[in-house]
């Protein structure tokens, strides 16, 4: 095995071990670990399977075999960056929905607290029979949202 190959294999194994350990410690969610694991596996494959690296460098167009690793590294970086952007987009949307729900629940909670204040009659009681039935679940939802 040539020196670059040895380096790649060692790096790939270290990456694999590191990622698996992060998942084991629950710092990295299993669902987000796959792209890293596949990349490490891909590197190992290219480094260890005889002739594969030559085939890939030929397929790309005459580059040095060692450049193949750099190229694959770039491809990986693109892919992971795109994955991050997609995840951030999803999280942003969810964050917005959560914030909006909190604002609405907060407003309803304030209204309920006022309704339960001793002084009032009339307008509060005119809201109809559905309020008492809803009170428990709205309150639980509000309590839950404030967690």
């Amino acid at each position: 095995m040539s020196r670059p190959q040895i380096l790649i294999v060692i790096s790939a194994v270290l990456l694999l071990a590191f990622v698996l350990e992060q998942v084991r410690r629950r710092r990295l969610r299993e669902e987000y670990s796959w792209i890293w694991l596949l990349t490490a596996a891909g590197y190992l494959l290219v480094a260890l399977v005889p002739g594969l690296i030559e085939w890939v460098s030929g397929a790309i167009g005459s580059v040095r075999p060692t450049s193949v690793f750099a190229f694959l590294g770039l491809v990986f970086l693109f892919l992971i960056s795109i994955q991050f952007s997609v995840q951030i987009s999803r999280l942003t949307e969810q964050n917005k929905d959560l914030a909006q729900q909190i604002a609405i629940l907060d407003s309803e909670l304030g209204r309920l607290s006022q309704a339960q204040a001793p002084a009032t009659t009339g307008p509060d009681n005119e809201r109809g029979g559905s309020i008492p039935a809803e009170l428990p679940s709205s309150q639980e939802n509000a309590e839950r949202a404030l967690d």
Binding site: R24, R26, E30, E31, Q101, P136, S137, E140, E143
Partner: protein, 245 residues
């Protein structure tokens, strides 16, 4: 005989047509229990129909999957001091008459978790082949890795004791796919698990979480990783710690 507070948790996504029937069945069979439907961001009228049927409803602001919905129910149960939680699916696949059998195991302290298995003789459930192969494989794996005979590792029809519910409220609970990996995790944490024969029906539309060819394969890979991680971790400490919601 002491009365224990029981909560029936029904995770539901797009079940506006079936949820009323499920709730009615539960209330008829377990009138002493409270019923909580977790609406997992359904775009239809699931929550409205559930409220109309007399259940408590918690609506998640967006869809996050079966495990997250279930865990929401567990957190609710913990906050409100319930002693036993029954999980039952919102699509009518689980026969509510069997809830009593699951409860009996927990109430008599035979086990901390009662898993309702469709393969133990009650009813005649028959599933599609690829899924059956997967289930048999993971059932065998779970049986091998624990000291239990596991026949239905993916069952969503269960009864849980308070301690298990509190355990599930921590970050140990695998919200992605709570199946065979959870059973292994329970055993490693020292909980007692028992299987109980229950009746299940196949969903009429045939839609499930694991349709097609690719999905079962991905599921298998994710489950294998989750099981491997469960074996490498030591979650017994979390039994003693308080949950962090």
């Amino acid at each position: 005989m002491e009365t224990r507070k029981i909560l029936v948790v029904i995770p539901a996504y797009r079940e506006e047509a079936k949820i009323e029937g499920v709730i009615a069945g539960v209330r008829a069979n377990v009138p002493q229990a409270d019923v909580l439907v977790i609406d997992d961001g359904s775009p239809d009228e699931t929550a409205i129909m559930a409220r109309r049927a007399g259940a408590l409803v918690a609506s998640l602001p967006y869809n996050q999957g079966y495990g997250v919905a279930l865990q929401t129910g567990f957190k609710y149960a913990r906050r409100h001091g319930y002693d036993i939680v029954v999980q039952i699916d919102g699509d009518g696949q689980h026969e509510p008459r069997c809830i009593a059998d699951l409860l009996a195991v927990i109430q008599s302290s035979q086990a901390d978790v009662a898993l309702g298995s469709r393969w133990l003789g009650a009813g005649d459930y028959k599933g599609p082949f690829l899924r059956k192969f997967g289930k048999v494989f993971f059932a065998s794996l779970a049986t091998f890795l624990t000291d239990l005979k596991v026949t239905d590792p993916t069952t969503g029809f269960q009864a849980l004791s308070k301690e298990v519910v509190h355990f599930y409220c921590t970050h140990v609970y695998p919200v992605d796919y709570p199946d065979a990996n959870v059973i292994i995790m329970l055993r490693r944490a020292g909980f007692r698990v028992a299987e109980v024969p229950v009746i299940m029906y196949r969903s009429e539309t045939g839609q499930s979480m694991h349709a097609g060819i690719l999905k079962p394969v991905f599921y298998g890979m994710k489950m294998m990783m989750s099981i491997a991680m469960t074996l490498l971790r030591d979650d017994r400490g979390l039994r003693r710690e308080g949950p962090h919601v």
